[in-house]
């Protein structure tokens, strides 16, 4: 009974192809630039960037302080800058408070650290429920928090972009920074998952 898309994939495919033809013919866009954009967000910019930021904050107390104080600069120091990450804020999960990020009005998302948003982040199901029923949303991800943990939802209504710093899992003292980064899932940096937890198997 779900609302099926009124147009087939074929129809939208033709619609986009026609639009590209028009814009290229009119000289508004450089087709080679399109390929660079696609390549950038297919292979270069993705959630491993954010995982590196989180891992660094776990191992380097000075970096962690910097990330808290000026996330845009601290993240840029690792080489991650640009579109949809111009004004970054990092928010740290604690045993007392769990952070969850949403954009109820569209799909604002910190591209330089997380890449393009997943379909669910842009979906009406997530955008509608994250602010009123975050525990229900977390349950959809297989995440159950302690009932006493406070939930702090950030609705990205402006150009500030939020990166959740998940809690460092226990018994990870022996891991390298790179190994730690492998525990940091994309979902955990939105607040829809926990680092090194079952949600990670979806990577």
């Amino acid at each position: 009974m779900h609302g099926d898309r009124p147009e087939s994939d074929l129809a939208i495919e033709h619609r986009v192809a026609a639009l590209e033809s028009i814009l290229v013919e009119k000289g508004y866009v450089d087709p080679a630039a399109l390929d660079v954009i696609i390549e950038t967000y297919s292979s270069v910019v993705g959630p491993r960037n954010g995982a590196a930021v989180v891992a660094r904050s776990w191992v380097d107390p000075d970096y962690r302080v910097w990330l808290r104080r000026d996330a845009t600069a601290a993240i840029a120091a690792l080489g991650f800058t640009g579109r949809q990450g111009e004004h970054m804020v990092a928010v740290e999960n604690t045993p007392e408070e769990h952070n969850l990020v949403v954009c109820t009005l569209c799909s604002c998302y910190p591209w330089p650290v997380l890449g393009l948003p997943p379909v669910w982040y842009k979906s009406p199901a997530y955008r509608s429920r994250a602010v009123i029923d975050p525990r229900g949303v977390l349950a959809d991800f297989g995440v159950t928090l302690d009932p006493s943990t406070r939930i702090r939802v950030w609705d990205s209504t402006a150009e500030v972009r939020y990166l959740v710093v998940p809690m460092r899992p226990d018994d990870t003292e022996d891991l390298t920074e790179a190994e730690l980064a492998d525990l940091v899932t994309r979902d955990s940096m939105i607040g829809a998952g926990l680092a090194g937890q079952p949600a990670r198997v979806t990577r």
Binding site: D4, R5, P6, E7, D9, I12, H14, V16, A17, L19, E20, I22, L23, E25, K26, G27, Y28, D30, A33, L34, D35, I37, I38, Y41, S42, P47, G82, R83, Q84, G85, H87, T104, L105, S107, G115, L116, P118, V119, W120, S123, P124, A125, S128, V131, I132, R135, V137, D140, P147, I151, R152, V153, D155, T157, A158, E159, V160, D187, A192, A199
Partner: protein, 219 residues
């Protein structure tokens, strides 16, 4: 506007469906839709706020039954037509029928990596001191403009507390309509779940929005 995009607290969409992290696109046309949206936006013909308003202006049935890249595509078509860069006839024909008009910039491949890595900051010099400070109690306005706004319905006419002062930023309500950047102070305002959703709300819940000064009154 109180369009279909204003989803906070709406019910009936079913569960959230997780997705593996390594999925980037679900079809090749999605890549092209993304790239076209960014490249067309790079002409500078419209602001990011005008882009959002074009998408939220879709008929609600269309908005809610479209995937997000479909929404982007339909929004881009509207922007191109409303800014006189492409005609309805051309969209129908699926090809250009007359030469392009001059645009502010054409993003070239060689410049693209730098442009994406630079982004476009939206903070601006403030021309007045901030009206509110961290810890101030504020009340959001009961505003229902027909045009673009970034104050969601669920957070209107509610009491909250200023948690951060973010600086002065471009004001979307004017920028979306070509009425200038009119920078204003931006605040992160936090509300209790009870304030937003009533006595049956999750007692451990707080929600913040980022709110421009015009959206707020002292409380």
């Amino acid at each position: 506007m109180n369009g279909a995009q204003d989803l906070g607290g709406v019910m009936g969409f079913g569960p959230v469906v997780p997705e593996p992290e390594d999925v980037r696109f679900h079809a090749d046309w999605e890549k092209r839709a993304l790239a076209l949206t960014l490249a067309a936006g790079a002409t500078g013909a419209w602001s990011i706020d005008a882009g959002r308003h074009a998408r939220e202006s879709l008929h609600p049935a269309d908005y809610l039954s479209s995937s997000y890249y479909e929404i982007w595509t339909k929004g881009l078509e509207r922007l191109l037509v409303s800014h006189g860069l492409v005609s309805e006839e051309e969209l129908t024909a699926g090809r250009s029928l007359e030469p392009g008009r001059p645009v502010g910039r054409v993003l070239r491949a060689a410049d693209t990596p730098a442009a994406l890595a630079a982004g476009s900051p939206y903070d601006r010099p403030a021309d007045a001191p901030a009206r509110f400070a961290v810890g101030d109690r504020v009340r959001t306005g009961n505003r229902h403009p027909a045009g673009h706004t970034r104050l969601p319905r669920y957070a209107r006419d509610k009491h909250g507390v200023v948690e951060e002062v973010r600086g002065a930023f471009v004001f979307p309500d004017t920028s979306a309509h070509g009425d200038g950047e009119a920078p204003q102070w931006l605040y992160t305002v936090r509300f209790s779940g009870h304030e937003l959703w009533g006595p049956d709300a999750d007692p451990t819940l707080t929600v913040s929005i980022d709110a421009w000064e015009n959206y707020l009154d002292a409380a």
